[in-house]
């Protein structure tokens, strides 16, 4: 467990751990930045963060991408050794998640107050913006946290919100924002608009690595992301309150202060989205930026979003798996782990103990009634406790031998689904499927399962031993 003070401290640790690659080659803003970031995640579990400083047209620029883009960097963000397995990262994430709430530490100044711009704001001059995918309707800020409060409950810290939403840079001081109806900020905006008011927001960019993971975690409306980040780092989370009363992370590089304009919508999109397809164009809300603050020599951060896997898939991996696990496990303590790594959990794998015939199917059905299940989980695979849901070789084995489609596939028509899932028919509605890949147990007496093979005695010991020896060999 470790608390990174700011973005730069995390980059320094990535550097020490040989997980930061400084790219000094001359490059064009388009398409080189996106292409390099898209390529980085294909390097595997130890793909490094990228820091670009030689981009055409800029004399002094630092652009960071792929900062969370590998399991090694994800582990380091959590303050774990970089070779921590996905399964171990999951159990540690769950353990900390259950310690909620931690504390806020409010201080009065932060490095991002070094430079203040409050007139003639031109975001195109302040930020090194660029296009990610050819069909994107503009340049997007896509790795920022947006901080807001509930106008109907302004002084309640627990309903302050820190979320990650795509932001289209519209002109010199306006952003489009996608406020998905299921997300907390949509509720706060609806309250402001019913009052006929603007909603004050702060867009914060270039943060220590935990708050972005928390912003991507679908936690309860009454849970504050900063208090979750505090338990994730084992220390109070340091913030500075701005004049509007919004809490800003101490460690941000840039802070854009403004308002979502009440009762206003403008064309927004398209944007290459997490399912690997472009979203359409909509009339979305608009943010007017009133003031920009930033550190000297600021570092701009972006995430490449495209056909999975990308860095985005790491941001919504354990952050999705954990709340679903927590809710399932509260109903069924038999549930061991949840893997919601694939495309924000559109496919989701649960491992569980099975008490009696039909139990696994009930676990699968329970997934569908979790908040995430209402909008994402579409194909649910349930496996026994002897299968690691994070090891697809094991999961495919379970499907291979423990599924008889005649009795193990449940098809459920016309359930609710996220609009961004292109398989919907009509939009927002989809058929869902549960695959029971557990061994049938009485009274579900199907199949002819004899004795299950066990690994030879000592396999686990040898695994550790050979792992260490192989590491030596490959040094």
């Amino acid at each position: 467990m470790r608390a990174y003070q700011d973005f730069r401290e995390f980059l320094a640790v990535l550097d020490q751990e040989k997980q930061l690659l400084r790219v000094t080659d001359a490059m064009m803003p388009e398409p080189d930045l996106a292409a390099a970031a898209a390529a980085a995640t294909r390097l595997g579990n130890r793909s490094p963060a990228l820091l670009f400083n030689n981009v055409a047209g800029y004399s002094d620029v630092q652009i960071a991408m792929n900062v969370h883009g590998s399991w090694a960097n994800h582990a380091l963000a959590l303050g774990l050794p970089q070779d921590t397995s996905i399964r171990d990262q999951f159990f540690e994430f769950v353990r900390r998640y259950r310690l909620y709430p931690g504390q806020l530490e409010r201080v009065t100044s932060a490095p991002w107050q070094e430079v203040v711009i409050d007139k003639d704001i031109n975001l195109f001059e302040i930020l090194p913006l660029f296009r990610l995918n050819l069909g994107d309707g503009a340049f997007f800020i896509d790795k920022a946290c947006v901080v807001s409060r509930d106008p109907d409950d302004w002084n309640n810290d627990d309903v302050e919100n820190v979320g990650c939403y795509r932001l289209q840079v519209k002109d010199s001081n306006h952003l489009g924002i996608q406020t998905v109806p299921q997300h907390d900020i949509a509720l706060q905006l609806a309250h402001a608009e019913a009052r006929g008011e603007d909603l004050p927001v702060a867009v914060v960019l270039g943060n220590e690595p935990l708050i972005m993971l928390m912003a991507a975690t679908p936690m309860l409306y009454t849970q504050l992301e900063y208090k979750m980040a505090a338990v994730m780092q084992g220390q109070p989370y340091r913030v500075v309150q701005n004049e509007k009363g919004l809490d800003i992370p101490y460690g941000s590089e840039y802070v854009l202060e403004g308002r979502i304009l009440g009762r206003k919508r403008q064309p927004e999109g398209p944007f290459g989205e997490f399912p690997g397809y472009y979203s359409g164009c909509h009339q979305y809300p608009v943010i007017e930026i009133d003031r920009v603050l930033h550190r000297k020599n600021p570092i701009y951060e972006s995430v490449y979003v495209g056909r999975p896997w990308t860095e985005l898939d790491y941001l919504q991996a354990l952050t999705t798996s954990t709340p679903v696990f927590d809710q399932l496990n509260a109903t069924f303590p038999e549930v061991i782990a949840v893997n919601a790594l694939y495309t924000h959990g559109l496919v989701l794998i649960v491992s569980t103990k099975v008490r009696y015939g039909g139990f696994a199917k009930a676990v699968g059905l329970r997934v569908l009634s979790t908040p995430h299940g209402l909008g994402y989980a579409k194909v649910i695979i349930v496996v026994n406790e002897d299968v690691d849901p994070f090891d697809l070789n094991q999961v495919m084995w379970a499907i291979s031998v423990r599924v008889n489609p005649a009795g193990d596939i449940l098809m459920l028509p016309n359930l609710s689904e996220n609009l961004l899932d292109p398989a919907c028919q009509p939009s927002g509605i989809v058929q869902k499927m549960i695959i029971d890949a557990t061994t049938p147990v009485p009274p579900d007496n199907r199949g002819d399962y004899g004795e299950l093979l066990q690994n030879p005695v000592g396999t686990d010991v040898w695994l550790k031993k050979l792992g260490a020896l192989t590491k030596e060999l490959q040094k």
Partner: protein, 88 residues
Amino acid sequence: MSASTTKVTDPLPCPRCRSNTTVVRAVSPKAGVWTVYGCDTCFYTWRSTEPEENTNPDKYPAVFRLSPEKLAKLEVAPTIPPLRSTKP
């Protein structure tokens, strides 16, 4: 709108919606490398150094084009709630 967007005297048509409401959003800090343009009708943004598919209305992919009819029919999300008569 901020005063820092510059009206172009002879505007380029927007590659996406072909309106003439295009402005210069920024020029490169190193002079003469690129110019960023934007459209105040459909809010498309492009950089002069991008491929023609992004900068030339005739090469812009048909699937992403926006006509005035399409622009008028874009879905509003989220919907705007009715005004409350009294504040809570």
